[in-house]
């Protein structure tokens, strides 16, 4: 950089000197030519007055102030000098002058005869009344481009320049050094370095650095704050996202279909259960109002009520409906207004929950049917009891035969009622899980025979043949005697109830491998193939008119199955309409105990 600036300075100096020489040369030419013309214009007699001969010299002497002036002379046409003025050390060279009028004025280069310096001579004619008398010649030294004087001046000029350039350089360097440092540290700041300029310059730069450092300190603090806030934001955003995910997962997992509608009725959320329950895919529901997505008129009407929220619509509303083409299904919709947590008067839309209540509906209907059935079942024997007991009190009661009959019927009906009530109590216990199986090793043959005989001897089976084929050596079984008796009793009761006059009821038992199979066979009305798979369902009643007249209550077989399954056994049905039915119970034999079994 220094070299470049020195070269620049040298070039500037050279041009400056060149220009100075040029201007001196021009000045010299103007002076020369004008002086020549002014002398030529002076009248001859004035040019050489005897008494005033100094006038020419005076004019020429004026030129002596010019450092380049060499000489001035007036000579006649033969070259004889009439008067001259010379600068110190200058010699006048000889010159042949052309006397042709066209060449009177002019200039020429000559060489000084003494030192050989180049001269520039300007000349003009001296006239006396129009006739050429001689010539006036003015000589000037050609100005040197570098003369010693100039060289010394230039060197004097160059010296401070040479001294100043490095000085300036170092001064500038010194002043710009903090800037370099600032630049460097800004880069570091940009890459998260220390936010402070570690320099202590004085003066303007010192103030600047101080202010800058304060600013950076503040900025650093702010950036710190922002980063802290940013971390908090990220954390809280993650937390929110997590909570949102969790809430959505919860909402998706809810077994009910959930819709959230805003105040204008547009659905903003719908969980995946919407599709199976409402038959519309979730993405066709979200962002739409009921008019757009709902094709069930009842539901649409129900939901439309929440499109314009008014004060009256701020309570929970419910709807129960069966979807079109699915009369067997039952869906309950409940709409809950969503209140803002800040202002309980401000609703933020509606939460609608759709629930499949088909099972509940069936159970409810079944329950109602069951109560009706049971009360009918209870009332029928009660009715009989009331009529017979009153008969006993009346005139007919005086007849011995009628009295015996009445007492027998009353006895049977009381038994029938107690069976029903026992069944009901057993079911209720079993359904509440209150029943505990008391399994004891039982001689199954005795249990079966006892149950069978009880029924065979009762009035109910009057017209029927009772056949029992029970092997006396039937293996013992671990059973809850009381419960198992109910199951067998229920099967036998059905075999009697659904039989035909003159039909038969058979009880069979046999060992097959490690199992015992008990069969109850009747020659009754039978069960149709479609109904066979339902006979063990609670409250199930055959739809055949023949069966309906026989006063069942849909509990006996249900209870029998529950009991057999509690014993880890199986119960099956085989039947043919009009021919009869066979129920079979399969249970495991009690494990053989080698020690006790042989000695007992």
């Amino acid at each position: 950089m220094i070299a470049a600036s020195l070269i620049a300075i040298a070039v500037i100096l050279f041009l400056l000197v060149g220009r100075q020489a040029e201007s001196r040369r021009a000045q010299m030419r103007v002076q020369g030519l004008s002086t020549v013309r002014s002398i030529s214009g002076v009248p001859y007699e004035q040019l050489f007055p005897k008494e005033n001969a100094s006038s020419l010299l005076q004019a020429l002497l004026n030129l002596k102030g010019n450092p380049d002036f060499a000489y001035g002379l007036i000579a006649d046409t033969q070259g004889k000098q009439l008067g001259e003025v010379t600068a110190a050390g200058a010699l006048i060279p000889n010159a042949t002058m052309n006397v042709e009028p066209a060449a009177w004025y002019g200039e020429q280069s000559l060489v000084s005869p003494g030192d050989g310096r180049k001269l520039r001579e300007f000349y003009g004619p001296v006239l006396n009344k129009g006739a050429l008398q001689g010539f006036v010649r003015l000589g000037f030294f050609e100005p040197k481009t570098f003369n010693t004087e100039q060289v010394s001046f230039l060197s004097m000029l160059a010296l401070p320049v040479f001294l100043l350039v490095p000085l300036f350089y170092f001064l500038i360097r010194r002043e710009t050094k903090p800037l370099d440092k600032i630049s460097e540290q800004l880069q570091e700041i940009a890459s998260m370095g220390p936010a402070k300029i570690e320099l202590n310059p004085t003066g303007e730069m010192g103030n600047f650095v101080q202010n800058f450092n304060q600013f950076m300190q503040l900025t650093k603090q702010r950036i710190g704050d922002f980063e802290g806030e940013k971390m908090n934001m990220i954390a809280s955003n993650r937390m929110l996202a997590y909570k949102k995910d969790k809430m959505e997962t919860v909402l998706q997992a809810i077994p009910e279909a959930v819709l959230v509608m805003d105040d204008s009725g547009i659905v903003s959320f719908a969980n995946a259960k919407v599709e199976p329950l409402l038959g519309v895919s979730t993405d066709k529901v979200v962002g739409q109002n009921a008019e757009q997505w709902c094709d069930n008129p009842d539901v649409r009407k129900f939901l439309s009520r929440f499109q314009s929220q008014t004060q009256q619509k701020r309570r929970v509303e419910t709807l129960e409906y069966s979807p079109p083409n699915h009369a067997e299904r039952r869906i309950a919709a409940a709409a809950y207004p969503l209140f803002s947590s800040q202002d309980s008067n401000d609703t933020q839309g509606t939460l609608v929950v759709f629930r499949d209540i088909t099972q509940e509906h069936i159970a409810k209907n079944m329950g109602a049917e069951f109560v009706a059935q049971v009360s009918h079942e209870l009332k029928t024997p009660l009715n009989t009891l009331a009529m017979y007991s009153e008969t006993l009190l009346g005139d007919a009661g005086k007849n011995e035969a009628i009295r015996v009959e009445a007492i027998n019927v009353i006895h049977d009906e009381v038994e029938r009622m107690s069976t029903l009530i026992n069944n009901l109590l057993s079911i209720s216990k079993m359904e509440l899980g209150n029943i505990t199986l008391e399994r004891k090793l039982v001689r199954l043959v005795d249990l079966l025979k006892d149950t069978f005989d009880n029924l065979a001897q009762s009035d109910r089976g009057k017209d029927l043949k009772f056949i029992a084929k029970l092997p006396p050596d039937l293996a013992p079984v671990a059973l809850d005697k009381d419960l198992f008796r109910i199951a067998v009793n229920n099967l036998l009761t059905n075999a009697i109830k659904y039989n035909r006059p003159g039909g038969s009821v058979m009880l069979l038992a046999e060992e097959i491998d490690d199992q015992i199979v008990i069969r109850v066979r009747d020659t009754g009305i039978g069960i149709g193939p479609a109904e066979q798979s339902h006979v063990f369902e609670k409250f199930f009643r055959s739809s055949s008119p023949e069966a309906a007249g026989r006063g069942g209550h849909g509990l006996g077989l249900y209870l029998a199955r529950e009991i057999i399954e509690l014993h880890h056994g199986k119960i099956n049905v085989q039947s043919e309409l009009g021919k009869g039915t066979e129920f079979s119970i399969t249970i495991k034999k009690a494990p053989i105990r080698i020690n006790s079994g042989a000695t007992a």
Partner: protein, 130 residues
């Protein structure tokens, strides 16, 4: 001898009513459902018909409606056995004339009293013209 037709699917009900009525000197005929009852009526019209409502095959309601439609000039009384819980199902009887209810559980004594009263009124009304 006044003839009474009892229609019920419960053999015990038929039996106990029959015992009581026969003791009081009525001639009793029985049917297990509506169809059977219609056949018996066609063969031999009773003086009083006692029927249950809930019966397999043809119910008591259908039986009464059939009688009303086919025998607009019938003279015999219909007594329908019903329980208090079935009162809401009684609208259909408005179209049937000459019909009364018997509350369940049925009291044979009350039935006999009602029949005695009915037949004495009937004869009492008929007597002036006789």
């Amino acid at each position: 001898m006044k003839r009474v037709l009892i229609v019920d699917d419960q053999p015990h009900v038929i039996r106990v009513l029959k015992l009581n009525l026969e003791t009081e000197g009525y001639q009793v005929d029985t049917a297990a459902n509506g169809h059977e009852a219609l056949q018996k009526i066609a063969a031999n019209e009773p003086d009083v018909l006692i029927t249950d409502i809930q019966m397999p095959g043809m119910s008591g309601q259908e039986l009464c409606q059939s009688i009303q439609a086919n025998m607009p000039t019938r003279k015999f009384l219909i007594l329908v056995m019903t329980s208090t819980t079935e009162r809401d199902q009684r609208d259909w009887v408005k179209t049937i004339t000459h019909l009364e209810f018997l509350e369940k559980p049925l009291s044979p004594r009350k039935l006999l009293t009602r029949l005695k009263q009915y037949f004495s009124n009937e004869t009492g009304l008929e007597n002036p013209h006789a």
